[in-house]
């Protein structure tokens, strides 16, 4: 399985013209108006939903009253609490009749039997990150089967 941070350098190594590489790696321009990215509040703190030897699902619930239909949950993680250098991003869609929104993020390519630390963040499909105050959580992956 490949992941985003692997692909881009590889694509560049394939002599993709610099302009194309830049275009590919650059997120779409944020819209001028960002005021509707309202203050989000976590109402159920991030927790591990489940984990295998190489994958994990982290979930939390936030108030979600405004913004784009598609949202991204983002988990910053690493093997030391002060080194959350890796990140995983999963989209979800807002169902407008629900007062809260469950974010779930799929982490893959993890090491077996390893302790990971993480914080969470959420983003609109375009525009500003939501303002979240996330604690540092942790979990351990399962041993190799």
């Amino acid at each position: 399985m490949r992941s985003r941070h692997l692909i881009l350098p590889l694509a560049a190594a394939c002599f993709v013209p610099a302009a194309v590489y830049f275009a590919l790696s650059r997120p779409p321009a944020p819209p001028a108006i960002s005021s509707f990215a309202g203050p989000e509040r976590i109402v159920e703190p991030p927790e591990l939903e489940s984990a295998t030897d190489t994958t994990a699902f982290i979930r939390w619930t936030a108030t979600s009253v405004s913004g784009t239909r598609e949202r991204y949950g983002i988990v910053h993680y690493g093997t030391a609490p002060d080194q959350l250098t890796l990140s995983a991003r999963s989209p979800t869609r807002w169902n407008s009749a629900f007062p809260t929104m469950v974010f779930r993020v799929h982490l893959h390519g993890l090491q077996p039997a390893t302790r990971y630390y993480y914080t969470v963040e959420s983003r609109q499909a375009v525009g500003e990150p939501d303002q979240l105050d996330s604690p540092v959580g942790r979990f351990i992956t399962a041993p190799s089967p």
């Binding site: 399985m1 490949r2 992941s3 985003r4 692997l6 692909i7 590889l10 694509a11 190594a13 394939c14 002599f15 993709v16 194309v20 275009a23 590919l24 790696s25 650059r26 997120p27 779409p28 819209p31 939903e49 489940s50 295998t52 030897d53 190489t54 994958t55 699902f57 784009t68 239909r69 598609e70 949950g73 999963s90 989209p91 979800t92 869609r93 807002w94 169902n95 407008s96 009749a97 629900f98 007062p99 809260t100 469950v102 974010f103 779930r104 993020v105 799929h106 893959h108 609109q124 499909a125 375009v126 525009g127 089967p145």
Partner: protein, 558 residues
């Protein structure tokens, strides 16, 4: 790693080739999961090869579903031809009927052996109509061109995906990027590549693709389709609809030879326009080919295909009721299971405690899709013959040079340049956000089957074989996730029951779904509800209306 392909394919090829290392090079002889109720038809037994492969030539000649489809196809073609010749059709029904003729006409393929309807069986909700293919090829259908290379598998060119139903497809707007939502809406095809930007009609542009897709109808030149129209049984009717002289084109002497050479043949030298036409005739042929597509869209939007006559339509109109199971399923659909987050049902949601649902429909003709694209995290379906199409056929054409190294990234293929640059070049930069995503299907007619024990293939790769499996997948994808490929679930677990293999493309996997905490009975209720979306519950003919009292008109002065 080699990245020697043409520029417009460069980005994609390099990216996918990099995935090769991670994929076991071993064969694609996947296990097939045969649903319990399914019995291989006796006529097909001789067509099943070792390694769960199938002899497609044998199936084309013997399979009972293929025979049924061909018979129905001929019946519908003749029905349309009789209507066309009756000289009684109003303009509205003329263009619809022209589309019907085109859709059921096998002559429009390079070998005159394959109509659209072969892969889009009306009785199966206009999706794949052969059970044997649902089980053994992920629903992928054989195209017009047999492969005669000794020992080749598959022994027929095969499309790379499960045929998508085309019910309601003309209701999908032309593809556009909405900058406020940061999302694409509309388009046709699982990956949205039939954008509709030129004719402002996604379905009409979609119809222009299969005739010249080398894996499908395989005409070497779009003008060959026009040539066939100009020499066929409904030429006069085509001109009646589109204007006299529409098909007056001076064809070169070698037209018959070229038009019977399949697309991709080395002898054509890679030209997309091997027919030598004057520039005026080329323009005329292009125009007629646009009209060909528009007539098909007219048939697809007609009540014969997109009818709005389901039990659910009747329910929305306030004139019908659902059974208890269907009603429970509907409440789950727009509540706990959150299906209507993407498959819009025209009503508000009852899931949240603060939600106020007046029960009134806001839209009485809902499409059951929001026209967006999502990655459901479906596993790779290794039975797709596409993964084996990595050697040249007798024409020198190779459908899938990457073989098992190919990753179907859906909209990612389209935006990343797999089919050539996207028509709107600025969309290319959005590829990372749309990789792995496929079109949110309409759920109308998804439950439609030609007969009770029919096995239907669901989703773009046909990995799921029943609506129960579909709902169970949505419910438990993440609960039973295993980091294994299909066919290798750990001992003690059962694939599709207590094991879901890893996604073909883990990027952008949608998280509304995957862990819905539905019970087995709740899953069944949702399946019951999906059955209410089949058209044909209500009679399609306009019903009697109350008489309208008209003012007596004053008689004209005599």
């Amino acid at each position: 790693m080699k990245c020697t392909l043409r520029e417009n394919r460069l980005i994609f090829r390099c990216i996918v080739a990099s995935a090769l290392a991670a994929v076991p090079a071993a064969g694609v002889r996947a296990q097939v999961s045969v649903p319990q109720s399914y019995v291989i038809p006796p006529a097909d037994l001789a067509c099943i090869l070792t390694g769960n492969r199938v002899d497609l030539q044998c199936l084309i000649a013997n399979d009972p579903d293929f025979k049924r489809i061909r018979a129905e196809e001929a019946g519908l073609f003749n029905e349309a031809l009789a209507a066309a010749r009756s000289n009684t059709l109003d303009p509205f029904h003329q263009i619809e009927t022209l589309g019907k003729l085109e859709i059921f006409d096998p002559r429009l393929s390079v070998n005159s052996n394959l109509a659209c309807s072969f892969c889009h069986d009306p009785a199966a909700g206009y999706g794949n109509g052969a059970s044997i293919l649902s089980v053994f090829t992920g629903g992928a259908n054989p195209g017009s061109v047999p492969i005669t290379v000794h020992g080749a598998y598959p022994n027929n060119r095969m499309a790379k995906r499960n045929p998508q139903s085309y019910v309601y497809s003309p209701y999908f707007p032309p593809l556009q990027y909405n900058p406020t939502q940061g999302d694409f809406y509309g388009g046709n095809f699982w990956d949205g590549r039939a954008t509709g930007y030129r004719l402002m009609n996604s379905a009409a542009e979609q119809a222009q693709d299969p005739p010249v897709d080398p894996e499908e109808m395989a005409n070497p030149d779009t003008a060959c389709v026009v040539w066939k129209l100009s020499t066929g049984s409904y030429k006069a009717f085509f001109e009646q609809v589109w204007g006299r002289g529409t098909l007056d084109i001076a064809w070169p002497g070698n037209v018959a030879t070229i038009c019977s050479t399949p697309k991709g043949a080395a002898s054509l030298g890679g030209s997309a326009t091997p027919l030598a036409l004057s520039s005026i005739d080329r323009t005329r042929a292009n125009q007629a080919f646009d009209e060909f597509g528009q007539a098909i869209a007219a048939y697809e939007i007609s009540p014969a295909v997109s009818a709005f006559t389901s039990k659910f339509d009747l329910f929305l109109s306030g004139n019908g009721t659902l059974t208890a199971a269907e009603a429970r399923g509907y409440d789950l659909f727009r509540g706990k299971a959150q299906c209507n987050t993407c498959h819009l049902d025209g009503r508000s949601n009852t899931g949240g405690s603060g939600a106020a649902d007046t029960g009134a429909a806001t839209n009485v003709a809902p499409m059951f899709t929001d026209f967006t694209y999502n990655n459901l995290g479906l596993p790779r379906n290794p039975v797709l013959p596409w993964y084996s199409e990595n050697t040249p056929d007798q024409w020198g054409f190779t459908g899938n040079p990457l073989g098992i190294g190919f990753t179907d990234t859906g909209v990612g293929l389209f935006l990343g340049g797999y089919y050539g640059p996207p028509p709107n070049l600025s969309w290319g930069q959005l590829e990372p956000y749309f990789e792995g995503k496929f079109q949110t299907s309409t759920l109308r007619d998804t439950a439609k089957v030609p007969y009770p024990n029919f096995v239907k293939a669901f989703m773009h790769n046909g990995y799921l074989h029943s609506l129960k499996e579909v709902v169970h997948f949505y419910n438990t994808r993440d609960l039973y996730a295993q980091n294994v490929p299909s066919g290798q679930c750990r001992v003690g677990t059962i694939e599709k029951v207590t094991c879901w293999p890893r996604p073909e493309d883990p990027n952008n996997m949608n998280m509304v779904i995957g862990h819905l905490k539905l019970t087995d009975a709740e899953e069944n209720d949702i399946v019951a509800f999906l059955g209410t979306l089949n058209d044909g519950f209500v009679s399609a003919t306009p019903t009697a209306r109350p008489a309208i009292q008209r003012k007596p008109t004053t008689p004209p002065p005599s």
